[in-house]
């Protein structure tokens, strides 16, 4: 079938810790796939490895182990992890990254034109005119005034800068775009502008997004499928509506209940997790979430649960995924709101 775009298998990224003998697994043994045309999100708290995973997929970082097969529309698939320089060059223009920080991701000493055209110059041999045409066209699509292209980034506001960053990522006509917290650093009103832009561009240019975020409401708004990460592993992966209404992993349940709801009447029972995310250099035995889990049993400390299919398309890594009756408090809120409105 041709609807699979990227297949990640057993991807692991480890760093050497402060002590020479210590290895920190930022991403450990992650497997999932990305389908053509979808928006898949990676959510998790800081240090869960979502950014590292994203960087590995665009080869900003070299994964330590595993495979990551990219299936281009034409030609043979390429393993992003092991491909040689030449081979990877063939698909590099297809996979791009949008950064979180609209300030540090633009070189203050380059004009906007030079910033946006950089990926083009690195990947294609184009004449000056072709360059200008392509940059102007993407600038227009991302809502930048083409007459400002000779300016320097310092002349733009945060939202505008993020548009520049998006234009740079999209100028090569990529098929897969990794958005690494692309709207997290922006103010609420600007965030909405950029989210709308991303959504419009996806439809217009027929792209696939891997959306990395810690903000569940943003993720819920944009994605088709959601993967929840905890301590370097995917603990749950499901279609959005499934995940938000019927979570199968206790961590997802806690995460959902912790999100503040912008509604003073949306009172619900909150599941307060004990403690904080453990040190990835010394992960707990068994299920890495068990020290904070309220449903834990002895088995959880001994045996590491596998990510397995609980329902069609719904994967979870919990020994008791079928038995636990986990709630999504948000469903209740929604009912409250609709009943009140009606």
């Amino acid at each position: 079938m041709n609807d699979r775009m990227l297949q990640v298998e057993g991807l692991t990224k480890q760093y050497r810790g402060q002590r020479r003998s210590e290895w920190i697994r930022a991403v450990s043994d992650v497997s999932f796939d990305i389908r053509r045309g979808e928006v898949i999100s990676l959510v998790g708290e800081s240090g869960c490895g979502k950014t590292t995973l994203g960087r590995c997929l665009v080869r900003g970082l070299k994964a330590s182990e595993g495979r990551c097969m990219y299936y281009p529309e034409e030609g043979a698939p390429v393993d992003i992890v092991s491909a040689g320089h030449r081979e990877f060059k063939r698909v590099r223009k297809d996979i791009q990254l949008i950064f979180q920080d609209p300030y540090s991701s633009l070189n203050p000493r380059m004009t906007v034109f030079d910033i946006i055209s950089e990926p083009l110059r690195a990947n294609f041999k184009l004449s000056r005119r072709e360059l200008e045409e392509r940059v102007a066209s993407i600038a227009e699509k991302t809502g930048l005034n083409p007459s400002y292209l000779q300016r320097y980034p310092h002349a733009f506001s945060g939202g505008q800068r993020q548009r520049i960053g998006i234009a740079r990522a999209l100028v090569t006509n990529p098929k897969l775009v990794v958005c690494d917290e692309a709207v997290s650093a922006l103010d609420v009103s600007i965030q909405a502008q950029i989210m709308n832009l991303l959504k419009d561009l996806q439809e217009q240019l027929q792209m696939t997004y891997l959306f990395i975020s810690h903000d569940l409401s943003v993720v819920e708004h944009l994605s088709d499928r959601v993967a929840v990460m905890y301590l370097g592993r995917i603990v749950e992966l499901a279609p959005k509506s499934e995940l938000f209404t019927r979570p199968r992993h206790p961590y997802t349940e806690a995460l959902l209940s912790a999100v503040p709801i912008p509604d003073p009447d949306g009172k619900r029972e909150r599941i307060l997790l004990d403690g904080e995310v453990p040190n990835p250099a010394a992960p707990p035995s068994g299920c890495s979430f068990h020290p904070r889990c309220s449903y834990r049993t002895e088995r959880c400390a001994l045996e590491q649960p596998k990510l397995r299919e609980i329902a069609p398309g719904h994967l979870a890594a919990c020994h008791y995924a079928e038995e636990l009756m986990l709630r999504s408090t948000h469903e209740q809120v929604k009912e409250n709101v609709t009943s009140e409105a009606g």
Binding site: E45, S46, S157, G159, Q160, D187, V188, S189, I190, Q191, A192, Q193, M195, N196, K199, H214, L216, S217, V218, E220, H221, L222, F244, A254, L255, L256, S257, A258, V259, P260, I261, P262, D263, P264, D265, G266, R270, L272, L273, E276, V277, H330, E331, V333, K334, V337
Partner: protein
């Protein structure tokens, strides 16, 4: 209620006995903070009024650059030296006069004092800071000294304001640590900030801020740097401590979700002015100002309908040499040409406790009319 509970507990952390009838902890009148630059005055805060009652939480909401943090700092007299501050900041500690510093007692009017009459670096202000008003910050790591143990830093404040006895100070610090949910407090008191995780550091900050039973706690984006699960813990903790100690909280944030969960009243700030203030439920159910409405529509909600978000076009202008006009004029979809950009917008009533600064809800002043006649 609140105080009786605390008194019964008989602990060291008994809430200071309040003056009867003193409800308001803080009252701000026409506060202005300006930064002179070579191009002119940047009016970061352009005349705001605030009130917080004891035991209540006022959320000051706004986007970056709206002046909400400047306001918080001005209340503590922590503004940069060259800033120009005017207006009135009335603090009512709600304590018996005997519990106050001699200097403060001298300048009190019916148990309240105007903080702006004190020099920002003066002795009185030093008594107010940490003693009567405390502050917690977004990034606790920058607010804690890496060179001293957590215990020493909490005790420093206690020794400055409450007792001169080190032993007693330590026991208060210990109790405070337990109170904010730091387990194994005896040992952790002697640890350094880098040995604490982000959430624990914020707890330690809270312990430090509340160790002298302030009348007012200013929380400047206290959970923005934290993960959601930790944020939930810290918010819960703050609520519980407020219940126990009865202080007023000024909660500065940009996150409407956090506002809905913590605040009793909300003030929405835009370009240095408060454009709308109301009890929390009223504000979320019945927003009046176009900016508030825009904000409410532009946040993605879990369980929302999806589709496009309504966004506010444009960006926040700079409050530099601005003529008297509505700050939101340029971005407003309901602006009235020739009215909103011609004069300063007064505050008008829009329901019980609900005030809004918009000409959609008040008659513009006509030229030649004098409202005082």
């Amino acid at each position: 209620m609140v105080q009786t509970e605390a008194q019964q507990s008989g602990s060291l952390m008994r809430a200071a006995s309040p003056l009867p009838g003193a409800r308001k902890a803080l009252e701000v009148r026409n506060l202005r903070v300006g930064f002179p630059t070579e191009e002119g005055m940047v009016q970061a805060v352009g005349g705001i009024d605030l009130e917080i009652e004891r035991g209540r939480t006022l959320a000051l909401v706004g986007e970056s650059g709206c002046g909400k943090s400047v306001t918080g700092r001005a209340l503590m007299a922590l503004q940069p030296k060259h800033a120009e501050v005017s207006g009135e900041i009335w603090l009512t500690p709600g304590r018996q006069e005997a519990q106050l510093d001699r200097r403060l007692r001298a300048s009190s009017e019916n148990g309240s004092f105007n903080l702006l009459q004190f020099k920002p670096g003066g002795k009185e202000m030093r008594h107010v800071r940490g003693g009567l008003i405390s502050m917690i910050f977004q990034e606790p790591m920058t607010a804690l000294s890496p060179l001293h143990t957590i215990g020493d830093q909490i005790m420093e404040n206690i020794l400055l304001h409450r007792t001169k006895n080190r032993k007693e100070a330590r026991s208060i610090a210990l109790e405070m640590m337990e109170r904010v949910g730091i387990g194994n407090a005896q040992r952790r008191l002697d640890q350094y900030p880098h040995e604490f995780s982000g959430g624990m550091r914020q707890r330690a900050m809270i312990a430090m801020a509340l160790s002298c039973q302030p009348a007012l706690l200013i929380a400047d984006e206290p959970t923005t740097a934290l993960d959601v699960t930790i944020q939930a813990q810290v918010l819960e903790l703050m609520k519980q401590l407020q219940h126990e100690l009865g202080m007023a909280i000024l909660f500065i944030t940009h996150d409407l979700g956090v506002v809905a969960e913590t605040a009793d009243e909300v003030a929405v700030m835009y370009l240095g002015r408060i454009v709308e203030r109301a009890p929390v439920r009223e504000l979320f159910r019945n927003p009046k100002h176009p900016y508030t409405k825009g904000l409410m529509r532009s946040i993605p909600r879990i369980g929302g309908v999806g589709g496009r978000l309504a966004s506010i076009e444009g960006t926040v202008p700079l409050p530099l040499n601005r003529p008297p006009m509505c700050g939101f004029y340029e971005r407003c979809s309901e602006r009235i040409e020739g009215v909103c950009n011609r004069q300063d917008v007064p505050e008008s009533d829009a329901g019980p406790g609900h005030k809004v600064r918009c000409f959609l809800y008040s008659e513009p002043e006509k030229k030649g009319d004098n409202p005082h006649e």
